[in-house]
Every structure is written in structure tokens, then in C-alpha cells.
């Protein structure tokens, strides 16, 4: 019977492959044609094209730069990297905070405590039904702008300031001796990992619980602290100073940045909470009952039985939320946070006038970030997948 249908399938297979090659060729041809046509049209309409602008100096200033940048000296290419890093910074911080908040609220919503569960439910329904842009404007215009003006700044303990221009904190300045502390921390981390592996092996072999948490904490905190004391505290703090116009020095957290991080985290957390709830509910109730029948406590049940199985279900929708958060960070333009879209697809596009190139680069960057995030999450998903034994 297999022999009988094989020739037909073979033909169909060849036809299918041929069709796909043809389709790929058509798409390729279209893209090529569009490219040539665009270049032709740009030349005809006297709009300059190409990527020569990349190394020209950018004359504008940027409010938050994670790498050195100075207007008039740095290039448009440098401005691109400044914007990209600002986007990645906001996205990374947003993802961490949204995950922490989202897991907390998702689990709280399943709590047996009526009030806690209702409050979590209220949070989710309120936040996810209000457009993100409105929330962003709310945090920026209603909350952060209503902080006191510069001259009436709230003075924080340890020499910090809080006003409507941001949060200003003492900035640690490390003396050369500080490398000893970092070395101690690395040694501590290494030792902690070794200890953890040893403890796990011992438990597998003997079944006896081997609590090493206290030792690990001691290694992680104690070693660096001891090094710090031995090196004679090689850290100084640069305090922010009130000057005629602004607070100068210290560590500056811009209100635009704070509003964006808060809005993105709070908004995405509502969706993550639902993902978490769905993931936990997807684990069959029998699993919990079996664990309880074995005498595991509810915390242990959650940690060892429910969450590992729930994570498997949660990874794909969680990936979508992380991608959304990253892309939503481009709403920064609404409040003047210098992210990639604001700096590159904004100032650079306007000064160079090269819309096609700038927008193409911007789109390619978001595509790359998204594909990379997906890749990492897929790898994580594969790690947590059930391994058939």
C-alpha cells in the first residue's frame, strides 16, 4: 500500500517545492524592484539618499545618554546608539518590574483570601482596560509634574532631592581598591553555586534535606562586606548640589524615564498577571491533590509541583507580553524620553531628511530586538518543556 501511493505523493511534493521556490522568487523580485524604484524616484525628486549621513556630526543635544555623547562632536550614528541603549534600558527594566509585579498579582488573584483576590482582580480589570498612552500621560502629567518645583524640592535623607525635574540621589564613586570587593563578590557567587550543586546531589543521593540557604546568604553578602571593610571602604558618594538653575551632580533619574518605566510595568503587569493565572489554572487540580496527599506543604507544592508545570504553559504568551512592552516603549515620544524613535526616527530623520533610510533602520532594529527576545524565550521554553523519559 505504501508503494502504491508513493509516486503520487512524490509528484505533489515536487510541485509543492516548485511553488514555494516560485513564490520566494516573486517576493524577492518585488523587494528588489521596490528598492530599485525607490532609489530611482529619490534621485528624480532630488531627495538625497544613502547612508552617508551616519558619520556626519549631529548638532542636537540628548537629555539622557548612557554612553558619552556631545552635540556637534558626536555623529548621527552615535545618536542612534544612544537612542537604542535608552530603549533597551527602559525595556529591560520594564520587563523585570512587570514580571515581578505580574507574578505577584497573578498569584494574589488565586488567593483564598477574598479581599486579596478581589483587589488583584480589580487591578487587572482597571489597568488593562485603559489605553497605555493615557496611563503614560497620567503618570507624566498628573503625577510626576505635580511634584514640587525645584526651589521647593523635597529633601531626602542622605542628601537626595525630589522635584518635578526628577529624582537626584548620591552617586557612588569607586576608588581603585573597590576591585577587591568585586573579586570577593565573584568568589562568593562561585562558592555559592558549588555549595548549591553539592547540596542538591546530596539530597538526591540520601533524600535528606540539606538546608544551605543560610550559608549561601553568608557567602554572597558576608564576603563582599568583609572585603569592603578590609579595603578601608573605597567608596565615596558624590552628593547632588542645588545650583542656580538645576540640581547638579549625583545620580539623576529623569521624570520622563520614571514615567515610562512605571507606565510600561504597571500596564504589562496586568496582562502578565492573567498569563500567570491561566498558567497555574492549567495545571490539573489532581497534581496539587497528589502533592498534598504526599504531605507537601502548600508553599512547597506551589514551588515544586505547580509552578514548573505552569511555566511551560506561560512561556509563549509571556514572550508576547515582553515583545509588546519593548515595542510600546516607543510611546516615549509622547513625553519626551529620548528612546530610539524619539532620537533617531525623530531628530535624526528631520535633520537629515532621509525618511526612507531612517525608518528602514528603525524597523530593522525593532525586528531584531523582537526576534532576539523570542529566541531567548523559546530556548527557555525548551528548557522547561516536559522531558519524556
Amino acid at each position: 500500500m505504501r508503494g502504491a501511493i508513493k509516486p503520487a505523493r512524490h509528484g505533489a511534493q515536487a510541485w509543492r517545492v516548485g511553488l514555494q521556490v516560485l513564490l520566494a522568487a516573486v517576493i524577492g523580485g518585488l523587494i528588489y524592484g521596490a528598492f530599485i524604484n525607490a532609489a530611482d524616484n529619490l534621485a528624480r525628486t532630488h531627495i538625497s539618499s544613502g547612508f552617508g549621513f551616519w558619520n556626519n556630526s549631529a548638532g542636537f543635544d540628548i537629555s539622557q545618554t548612557l554612553i558619552p555623547y556631545s552635540p556637534g562632536i558626536s555623529t548621527f550614528g552615535r545618536a542612534f546608539w544612544v537612542g537604542l541603549l535608552n530603549t533597551l534600558f527602559v525595556a529591560a527594566l520594564g520587563i523585570v518590574l512587570a514580571t515581578l509585579l505580574g507574578f505577584t498579582i497573578g498569584i494574589a488573584r488565586l488567593s483564598r483570601n477574598w479581599l486579596v483576590a478581589r483587589l488583584a482582580g480589580f487591578y487587572v480589570e482597571l489597568i488593562r482596560n485603559i489605553p497605555l498612552l493615557l496611563q503614560l500621560l497620567f503618570w507624566y502629567n498628573a503625577v510626576l509634574k505635580s511634584l514640587p518645583e525645584l526651589r521647593d524640592s523635597i529633601v531626602l535623607p542622605m542628601g537626595g532631592f525630589l522635584n518635578n525635574r526628577g529624582l537626584f540621589l548620591p552617586r557612588p564613586v569607586f576608588a581603585p581598591g573597590f576591585s577587591a570587593v568585586i573579586a570577593a563578590l565573584l568568589v562568593g557567587i562561585g562558592a555559592a553555586i558549588v555549595l548549591q550543586v553539592w547540596a542538591r546531589r546530596r539530597r538526591k543521593r540520601s533524600g535528606a534535606p540539606t538546608p544551605v540557604g543560610r550559608w549561601i546568604a553568608a557567602l554572597l553578602v558576608g564576603l563582599p562586606l568583609a572585603a569592603l571593610a578590609l579595603a578601608g571602604f573605597p567608596v565615596a558618594f558624590e552628593l547632588p548640589q542645588m545650583s542656580r538653575f538645576n540640581v547638579v551632580g549625583g545620580l539623576e533619574i529623569l521624570p520622563e524615564f520614571a514615567a515610562l518605566v512605571v507606565a510600561l510595568s504597571v500596564y504589562t503587569a496586568a496582562f502578565i498577571a492573567e498569563v500567570v493565572r491561566a498558567g497555574i489554572l492549567a495545571v490539573a487540580a489532581g497534581q496539587t491533590e497528589a502533592a498534598q496527599a504526599l504531605g507537601l506543604r502548600s508553599g512547597t507544592t506551589l514551588r515544586l509541583i505547580v509552578v514548573p508545570q505552569a511555566v511551560r504553559v506561560m512561556v509563549p504568551p509571556l514572550t508576547s507580553q515582553y515583545l509588546n512592552l519593548t515595542k510600546n516603549s516607543s510611546l516615549a515620544v509622547a513625553i519626551g524620553y529620548p528612546d530610539l524613535v524619539q532620537v533617531f526616527a525623530g531628530s535624526v530623520l528631520n535633520i537629515t531628511g532621509q525618511a526612507v533610510e531612517v525608518i528602514a533602520i528603525t524597523m530593522a532594529v525593532y525586528l531584531t530586538i523582537s526576534l532576539f527576545t523570542s529566541l531567548v524565550m523559546n530556548l527557555y521554553g525548551r528548557m522547561t518543556a516536559i522531558v519524556e523519559r
Partner: protein
């Protein structure tokens, strides 16, 4: 997001349209029965819809003048509000026929953006506004100040240049629209707000308490504001340029909205040529010979438009200064209709 959409539509247009050459703007406008004018939607005195939705302002009146010359009807204009960030893309992609939005004529814009500037309708310069409570009397005292600025403007670049050349520290807070920038300044986010000085007077009126803010005396740049058209349609550029020249000539010869009908009988050959009593000047632009008469009849001469929108008869009360006629010590010099 509008900016991205405009840029995308330009990219698609360039990629998939067969022939993007702009040769026939006047014909297109005539067939459409309407001029599409890119204007500023938020700048008092230059381009701003009033509560009834009627567009007003100096740049707006310029577009109405073009419509009057073509259709003998200044209302045949559709205004498209543009931000500093999306204005050039809108013109390049053909979304608007003419860009009349307080735009500075610079060399790089003229040579690399695929557009041409027609004539300087307003000589401007960049200035600073500060909160009075700071007790600052000169821009040179602004060392270390934070300044709110709008993105995609020459202003953004001049600001960095000025502080750099005077070795002063600067904290810039950049916003996509003038609206957001001025709001941030008003709330105390910045010590100073900077834009073209004509704009400063307009924006000051929108602050919560205008009298608590002052405009500093320094003018730190040259900002010749000019309407722009797409490069490659020379006859359309001619029409836009001569609209401005006609309004200037009318002011110089004393032809006004109210006396233009009597002036038709004038013996002065320059007035007779301007108003189309003698010569074929309108036809050479692709219009009728009474094109300038139509402009002055419905909009008035340059001085009338200036006074009504930004000058002494407006809330802005901007002095003529550099924009006075050359005969009165200014720079506005109407080219001869001859």
C-alpha cells in the same frame, strides 16, 4: 505616530509608484478645485484654527492668497496641520501642495530634501523665554539651565550651538511637538523655552500666567521663514514666489484691500501692471491677468496681513522690524512686475 505613518507612506510611494516627478502641481490643484496647504495647527499668529474651525494666521493667509490667485476664492484651501517633525515628509510625498508653516530656509534643507523655498515671507530669529522668578535678564546667564525645545527644528540645533560656543552647560528636554514642550515649560520642568522669537510671543499668551514670563533680548540665530514647494516644478514655485512679491509690491504702492478697486483706474504704470490692467503677467503664471487684484481684494497687501495676524492689530503686537519694507528700513523688497 503620525510622523511614522507619513514617513511610511512616503517610503511606499517611492517604492511602488511608477513615476514620482512633480511637474503639474498647478494643473492638479485646478482639477481638484482646492489647494492643499501644510500649515502649523498650534501657533497663534501663524497657523491656528479658531474655536469654529476657521484657520487663521500669517502663514494661513499666504495659502489663502494663492487660492485667491488661482480660484478667485480664498476659501478654496484645505489646511493640513503638520508638526515640525513631519512637515517635509508631507510635502515630499505630495500630501500637501505647498508648505506654509514657519519653516526656516537653510542650505541643507534646500539642497537635500528635494524641495525649494520660494521667498522669505518673515525674517525671524531664535530667542529664549524664561520664568520671571529666575531674575535672568540675558541668555548669557543661562549657564546650567534646562531648556525645553521642539524636535526637528533649526531651533534644536541652534540651541546646542549657542551653549557650546559660549561654553555654558545645557540640559535639553526635547519634545515632539511645540505643545508638549510649552506645557512642560509651563509646569516648571524647564527654566527656559526656546523657539523663533515670533513664536515666543504667540506661545507666551497660552501660558497659565503670561505675565510671569519674559522674553530675553538676545536673538541667537537667523531664521528666514519661507514657504516651500517640491523641487522640479518650477512654474509652481514661480506662482508661490510671485504671490508674496505681489503682496509686497501692493504695500509699496499703497494698494490695499479697501482701495484696490479705485487703484484699477490708477495712472501709475507699476500699479497698472500689478493689477493686470496692462500686460499679460498673470497668463505667464498660468493664471488670469487679474491674479494680483484677486489676492489684494480678498487678503490685502503684505502689511495688512502682517498687522492683522501678528502685528499691531493682533494680540501678538510684533513690531515690523526686519519685516518692514525696504523703503522703511526693513528687508522686505518686492521684486518688480515687469
Amino acid at each position: 505616530m503620525k510622523r511614522i505613518a507619513t514617513a511610511l507612506s512616503l517610503a511606499l510611494l517611492l517604492a511602488f509608484s511608477a513615476q514620482t516627478a512633480w511637474a503639474q502641481t498647478l494643473q492638479t490643484v485646478k482639477q481638484r478645485g482646492q489647494l492643499i496647504c501644510g500649515a502649523n495647527g498650534t501657533l497663534a499668529g501663524f497657523g491656528l484654527p479658531d474655536p469654529q474651525g476657521n484657520w487663521t494666521g500669517f502663514d494661513v493667509d499666504f495659502c489663502r492668497a494663492i487660492a485667491a490667485a488661482i480660484f478667485n476664492d480664498p476659501s478654496k484651501v484645505k489646511f493640513v496641520p503638520l508638526t515640525a517633525a513631519n512637515r517635509f515628509t508631507a510635502l515630499q510625498s505630495g500630501e500637501v501642495d505647498v508648505l506654509s508653516r514657519n519653516t526656516t530656509w537653510t542650505m541643507s534643507r534646500d539642497t537635500t530634501l528635494g524641495l525649494d523655498f520660494a521667498a522669505v515671507t518673515f525674517f525671524d530669529g531664535q530667542g529664549f523665554m524664561v520664568h520671571k522668578s529666575l531674575k535672568v535678564s540675558s541668555a548669557l546667564e543661562l549657564n546650567g539651565a534646562s531648556v525645553c525645545v521642539q524636535q526637528g527644528t533649526t531651533t534644536e540645533l541652534n540651541l546646542a550651538d549657542y551653549f557650546r560656543s559660549h561654553q555654558m552647560a545645557l540640559k535639553t528636554v526635547t519634545f515632539a511637538t511645540a505643545d508638549e514642550a510649552i506645557k512642560a515649560y509651563d509646569s516648571g520642568r524647564c527654566d527656559s523655552y526656546t523657539t523663533d522669537s515670533s513664536g515666543l510671543y504667540g506661545e507666551r499668551l497660552r501660558l497659565t500666567s503670561p505675565n510671569d514670563n519674559i522674553v530675553l533680548p538676545e536673538i541667537i540665530s537667523k531664521e528666514p521663514l519661507s514657504p516651500a514647494v517640491r523641487q522640479g516644478d518650477d512654474s509652481w514655485e514661480d506662482l508661490v514666489r510671485w504671490t508674496h512679491e505681489a503682496m509686497l509690491d501692493a504695500e509699496e504702492f499703497g494698494v490695499t484691500k479697501s482701495n484696490v478697486d479705485e487703484q484699477l483706474k490708477s495712472a501709475n504704470p507699476e500699479i497698472r501692471r500689478l493689477l493686470g490692467v496692462e500686460g499679460q503677467f498673470g497668463q505667464s503664471l498660468g493664471l488670469t491677468n487679474d491674479w494680483a487684484y484677486r489676492i489684494i481684494k480678498s487678503i490685502g497687501n503684505y502689511g495688512e496681513s502682517f498687522d492683522r495676524n501678528v502685528g499691531e492689530n493682533s494680540p501678538l503686537k510684533i513690531a515690523r522690524g526686519l519685516n518692514a519694507l525696504w523703503t522703511k528700513g526693513g528687508l522686505q523688497y518686492g521684486l518688480p512686475v515687469r
